[in-house]
């Protein structure tokens, strides 16, 4: 304390200058209060800004320039006038005569392996060119190659559902093909849906095993992807095999299955994905998460003859993946085996998939049973009143064309 006193600066006298002023400045209680208040409020403001800045963290944008325009298998499009896109079925006999060899270019590589290829950049035939072609074979070929370029881009009255079918001119005769296509068109027109029918043979250049018999199943994801491209604003894409007819023309698919109550009731929850599998479908599957719908057959297998996808990232991933040549290159027993594997091994896709009861979109016609039997829980095969009659198994019986004929008469006769 003594030392402190000694070293204490002298007060008053000549030393009274700025230090005193300085002290006075701070000692003046009114001014000081003002000073302190301003300082604190400034500090508080900065602090507040800091906190707020932390709350609204910067977001990292990840846009990069799009280098290319999206296109389908072909680089050029043809605008369709109607949402009903189907090939000229009358050409079936000519196409059958031309064979694959006559329709595509065969390219032989260095290993002497021949592959059919597609000229993606070929521009579509103009009306003038069309008029100039007199040879029916050449015209049919050009129409065949141009058919995949059809897209529907009208902004108004857009169809919500598109029915997708692959038709094979080698298997069915012209009359049966007409019935198959007409059946879908009639249904679509009634409910303002779209139709997207392509020749199965159109997809030959896109696959490894270049024949319809081996690759028909791998065409399914390809045609679905093409349909999503052709109908960019549609909400649902329904693949319906050529060996099936829509039997109830008055029921719309949306009221029958796609609305949330109906779908919720139809979903098979907590059942093995394929028979005897340990992996089960999700117990909790909200309807709004459903992007892929497959019926499960009565034996617990996945029925790939009729399925529905939405144009979401999940469906696109599912279609791209199930159409990947590497995945298809595996030695699958059946298409159902392949799809069953994908769903079992990829829970992210399974979480977007609804397996539904077959009666909804794939009632199988059983020739040994009566079709007008009263509906009860025990009836698993097709009975009158079901939306779809599927003839799966008709190829083994050899009765596909006959079944199509019989049911077509029945359906169209009933309702007209």
């Amino acid at each position: 304390m003594v030392f402190k006193l000694k070293h204490k600066p002298a007060r008053g006298g000549s030393m009274r200058g700025w230090p005193a002023k300085f002290r006075n400045f701070f000692m003046d209680s009114k001014r000081r209060r003002k000073q302190v208040f301003t300082l604190f409020s400034l500090g508080g403001l900065v602090f507040l800004l800091y906190i707020l800045g932390g709350l609204f963290g910067r977001s990292h944008t990840s846009k990069a320039a799009a280098p290319q325009k999206v296109h389908g298998y072909y680089l050029n499009d043809i605008q369709a006038k109607m949402p009903l896109i189907f090939p000229k079925v009358q050409d079936a006999p000519i196409l059958k005569e031309l064979k694959i060899k006559g329709l595509f270019i065969l390219r032989i590589d260095v290993n002497k392996v021949g592959r059919y290829v597609l000229k993606e950049s070929e521009p579509p035939m103009t009306e003038k060119e069309k008029a100039e072609i007199t040879d029916s074979k050449a015209l049919a070929k050009r129409m065949f190659l141009d058919h995949g370029k059809m897209v529907y881009r009208k902004p108004t009255d857009y169809p919500e559902v598109v029915i997708v079918t692959l038709i094979d001119f080698d298997y069915y005769d012209q009359q049966s093909l007409l019935k198959i296509v007409q059946n879908r068109v009639n249904y679509a027109v009634r409910h303002k849906y779209g139709v997207y029918v392509r020749w199965a043979q159109e997809f030959i250049p896109a696959v490894q095993k270049q024949n319809v018999k081996d690759s028909y199943d791998s065409f399914k994801p390809l045609i679905m992807r093409a349909a999503i491209y052709a109908f960019p604003q549609a909400k649902y894409f329904w693949f319906l095999d050529q060996d099936a007819l829509i039997a109830q023309k008055d029921i719309s698919l949306q009221s029958h299955l796609l609305n949330s109550e109906m779908l919720d009731a139809s979903i098979l929850r907590s059942v093995p994905v394929v028979a005897k599998s340990n992996i089960k479908t999700y117990e909790h599957l909200p309807v709004e998460n459903v992007d892929i719908i497959y019926p499960q057959t009565n034996d617990g297998e996945i029925d790939t003859s009729s399925f529905i996808v939405t144009p979401s990232v999940y469906s696109k991933a599912f279609l791209d993946y199930s159409g990947d040549p590497l995945v298809r290159g595996f030695d699958w027993n059946s298409d159902s085996h392949c799809i069953g594997h994908i769903l079992q091994w990829h829970p992210t896709l399974l979480a977007r998939t609804a397996l539904v009861v077959p009666k909804t979109i794939a009632s199988v016609f059983d020739p040994t049973q009566s079709t007008n039997k009263k509906l009860d829980a025990q009836t698993l095969h097709y009975t009158d009143g079901d939306l779809v009659v599927s003839f799966s198994g008709c190829r083994e019986r050899g009765s596909c064309a006959q079944d199509v004929g019989t049911f077509y008469e029945h359906i169209e006769g009933n309702q007209e």
Binding site: L55, S62, A66, V70, H71, V313, L326, F330, W345, H346
Partner: protein
Amino acid sequence: MSSSMPYEASLDEEKKRQFTKKFKLVDRIAASIIRHKKLFLVLFSLLFVAFWFGFPQFGLWSKDPKIVIILAVNEGGGVLKWKGEQEWEIERISIQNKRAYAKKHGYGLTLKDMHTAKRYSHEYREGWQKVEVLRQTMREFPNAEWFWWLDQETLIMEPEKSLESHIFKRLDSLSYRVLDEFNPLNLQLDLPYVDYTGDVDLLITQDCGGFNLGSFLVKNSEWSKLLLDIWWDPVCYEQKHMIWEHREQDALEALYANEAWIREKTAFLPLRSINSFPPGACSEFQGDSRFFYNEKEHDFVVNMAGCSFGRDCWGEMQNYGSLLERRTTRWYRSFF
């Protein structure tokens, strides 16, 4: 004492006044503490516990990092061969480097143990570890926006550069999405249905032999989760495991080659932007300015890719470590 005697009375008074003025506030606080001893003890204990054991989400400042660096450490983990002194040191330097970088820019850092495990030893399952670690990390940091995967043998050479300024802000000019200029795998350039208008969710680089996943960025998105789910499938792996030397890299290449949905979200960065090589990697392309670390051009990251295959990891790490030290040392450091 004697010298102060004459002044004592008046000065004492003065001193007292000064003292009381000076210490009035402290006194008052101390007095109030003494009065509410128990309350302050509880308050202090609570603050103490919160500080040392508290949850980060309760903090005022702490928020989830928007970018999380995933550092793959302990590669091999001494399972198949001894982990020597040098390996430990490499790991230490690498972790130190990323930790300092993450701290500087406020990123998250998570270290992921990549030791050889039996579950990945089957020939169909090898290479699956990276994908599983990524999925696990995405669950761990649900609020992160981007994940930056880094292999152990990497060094961030320019810790001043933030990922925002170096990558994200100039993604438009830096990245490329069509492999027309550099396509070491000769992949098909154009696939149907690829829609490049959306956001980029995966940023990878290509080295002389194809895709390189030693340093890549993946966004925390639905798409990424789907990719991580699809990436590995025994059906593909079984057909290709003899050909796919680089495992998950080859699997991704195969997906990219054929599937539009993968392609439309993937963009490529030049190798030297996040993944420069030392001269030992891609050595057959000596002198190619696309691949190798260049000090003068301030390359961001050096990745001693494949240094454990017949090269000297420790030597390379030392070399780049001392270079980094030289570069980042400030002039005033020489004084103390």
